[in-house]
Point group: C2
């Protein structure tokens, strides 16, 4: 039997559940792998968290360095979240020759490149399965399962909170704020839900997936990110009528050396598995060669389910069977004739302004003759061709919604058109625009 010793820093929900799962399934893990994971110590800066340690009869410290400097510990598990001091703890642990497991997506999105570089230099690994899509073994599926695959497209529902809100809006016909409040009451959204609802959490995870799939860390401040707070019940109604659902998607597309990364609400056709992903679930769809289309689905949040991913990294590292991500901390390199690595191609990030897609546009217009003509004239002048228009029965003198689906159009033109249309006196601005992906 192999015994490996770990120290856990951060006793929030995921931290506590990881301890509980390790206890509960300890004999199962040993049966399956002949491995015994021994928790040497728990750490949290909040001293009252020592109660959790007492509950499991485990040593507690409020100083992370006590664990990081413990020569007996093989793996440091960082589950505290946040940038500072998590970054220092991870870097110091690697420098002390320890492997690291983390669920910290914000930290990896910001400093992943540095962290993986230190790990490489020290010959250590960083497990980060729990940082993306909670319980879904997505990171391992990609890095171990798709090693020979070109990944052409990735569409991900990466945030459980926003998916819950959009799902509830669609199902119960309640507005954004009611759905948000419900999510908060159920503990599915934080009191300050900005990171989730504005798409930042999805963005962090997309950055990690960009590293995993394409070997590049984008500057996350430059990735186009749009949240769901402007989605109205009206849009939910109209898109359902048009046989679409609105989902907050993280999108990555690579063609040659151009990488298109973005996070925004997206219309996807009813019936596609991504469109049918309910409640707090996450789902990731990949279009690859040669493996074709793949979809992974599971719980995207919650300490209990996420503990499975944390433990799978601990066990993989302890058994020396952990598959590090492609490129192992390098950017995209190729191998020359002599076997030396040379930089192959610079990845160029596509600007959102160069994106071409179909659009859902919803105007609120005064119901008077000639409105449609004015709007469509502006669209035509910018080469935007309309695929369908929906305008419900007229209520004289009042404002009515007009919904258009466009054919493929350039984002730059759409923006210019909206700018002009919103200035029309017959339009109650701002108009709504949501991108469509034809999956």
């Amino acid at each position: 039997m192999i015994v490996k010793k770990i120290g856990i820093i951060g006793l929030g929900n995921v931290g506590e559940e990881t301890v509980r799962s390790l206890r509960k399934h300890s004999s199962l893990i040993t049966q399956r792998t002949s491995l015994k994971i021994e928790i040497r110590g728990l750490c949290d800066k909040k001293k009252e968290k020592s109660k959790i340690a007492s509950k499991f009869s485990l040593p507690f410290t409020s100083s992370a360095f006590e664990l990081i400097n413990d020569p007996q510990i093989d793996i440091i598990v960082e589950l505290m979240g946040g940038i500072t001091p998590a970054r220092t703890f991870i870097i110091e642990a690697l420098k002390k020759g320890k492997n690291v497991v983390t669920a910290n997506k914000a930290l990896l999105a910001e400093y992943g490149e540095d962290i993986f570089a230190v790990a490489k230099e020290k010959g250590k690994v960083v497990g980060f399965e729990a940082s993306v899509c909670g319980a879904i073994p997505l990171i391992k599926s990609i890095s171990a399962g798709l090693v020979s695959c070109e990944i052409k497209k990735l569409y991900g529902i990466l945030n459980g909170t926003t998916n819950y809100i959009l799902y509830k809006m669609g199902k119960e016909k309640i507005d954004f704020f009611s759905a948000l409040r419900e999510a908060q009451n159920k503990g599915l959204a934080e009191k300050r839900p900005f990171l989730d609802i504005e798409g930042i959490d999805s963005l962090h995870k997309l950055c990690i997936l960009s590293y995993l799939c394409f070997g590049v860390w984008p500057n996350h401040r430059l990735v186009y990110t749009e949240g769901i707070s402007k989605i109205s019940l009206l849009d939910i109604f109209y898109t359902q009528e048009l046989n679409y659902r609105i989902k907050l998607l993280a999108i990555a597309k690579k063609e040659k050396n151009i990488l298109d990364l973005r996070v925004h609400p997206t219309l996807i056709p009813v019936g596609h598995p991504l469109a049918e992903t309910p409640s707090i679930y996450n789902a990731v769809y990949l279009d690859t060669h040669p493996a074709g289309e793949l979809l992974f689905y599971g719980e995207g949040a919650g300490g209990i389910s996420t503990s499975s991913s944390v433990i799978s990294d601990i066990v993989g590292i302890a058994l020396n069977s952990f598959t590090p991500p492609f490129y192992q901390g390098s950017q995209v390199y190729s191998v020359n004739e002599k076997g030396a690595l040379k930089r192959k191609q610079e990845i160029v990030f596509q600007s959102i302004k160069d994106v071409k897609t179909r659009y859902y546009i919803r105007f609120i217009a005064q119901d008077e003759p000639g409105v449609l003509t004015k709007v469509s004239k502006i669209l035509a002048s910018l080469n935007i061709s309309i695929a369908s228009v929906t305008q419900k029965e007229r209520k004289k003198g009042k404002f009515v919604p007009i919904v258009m689906i466009t054919h493929q159009a350039g984002e730059g033109n759409i923006r210019r058109a909206l700018c002009k249309i919103d200035k029309l006196s017959v339009i109650k601005s701002p108009s709504q625009v949501i991108r469509i992906e034809d999956l």
Copy 2:
């Protein structure tokens, strides 16, 4: 750069596509892993397959032992299928100290226990990602990703051919034989489609998943297996009306030490991702603790996509980061106080007769007064309670279908009831019965 040498035995569709993918994505693999896979030789007993070797300028042999005995070869890739001589080749390769990669589900279902025992004895590994669900990295997801998870239920659409047939029947309202013929014309079903349509191929894969998830190889001859050839268009109509879809499911449920394994057509509710799995796709749904519900979806057949799984095993083994399945060839063991392994619990396989579930039953009955009374009396006498009955408008004197959905009932009772009902003179036997899973 690490160089590993492989030999490929079997140049059917998967074999040829594996060679092609390895060529096409060779520099991608090297970029990502600093590994170079060198194909030392190709083998097929059919000498005309040497044309494939010439196409890729690779050495060809019709004697597998030339590769197995080649001391330069690190990994033998067996893609020939069938029991004999594949079994001998794999065992001999392991004995010669080579690791093995195989896509051979029939062989593993029959001799997996022996093969993994030899591998364990020799300290070698057998990669078998390609044996289940084509391109989906399911084996790795379970063995590396769910190592701390109890797997409570598994439902799998594991056979692309039957899923295609059922999907076409439902979509185009064609009967079983027309759909089968279409599948054959498209090369999606074999000329002798018995193994697919009678559920044997799904059964083989279920056996492998039983080993993977629960550490036990069942005797596949004792696992209840029912194919789709008796599904009529009438059943497709009625189940759709009742908001179900018929899918050929491989089912594994474990409660304490009782393992319930079976393969049969199953009614699952419309809207569940499994129900919506189209065409030749495969999907596997898992209910686990602590990871919760998970679903994996992708192409289940086809040489191109399956080559991804074959190569992922080759690369994992070559990099020494391959995760062997739980228990590594042993049955279910636990570890006693002194760290020694002892057999923990015998797994008891549940007989199909002890299954309790809900049922869809379709009778063809003479349309005369009292038929429903006769049928329901028999059902009641065997404790089978009816949840719903559908009988379409009467055509006097003719036969009409009656469809019933039962509440939870025992399989033994259902069989006894059907036996009695089919003997009624007003019933045109045999009646149809399909199990329901309430996902």
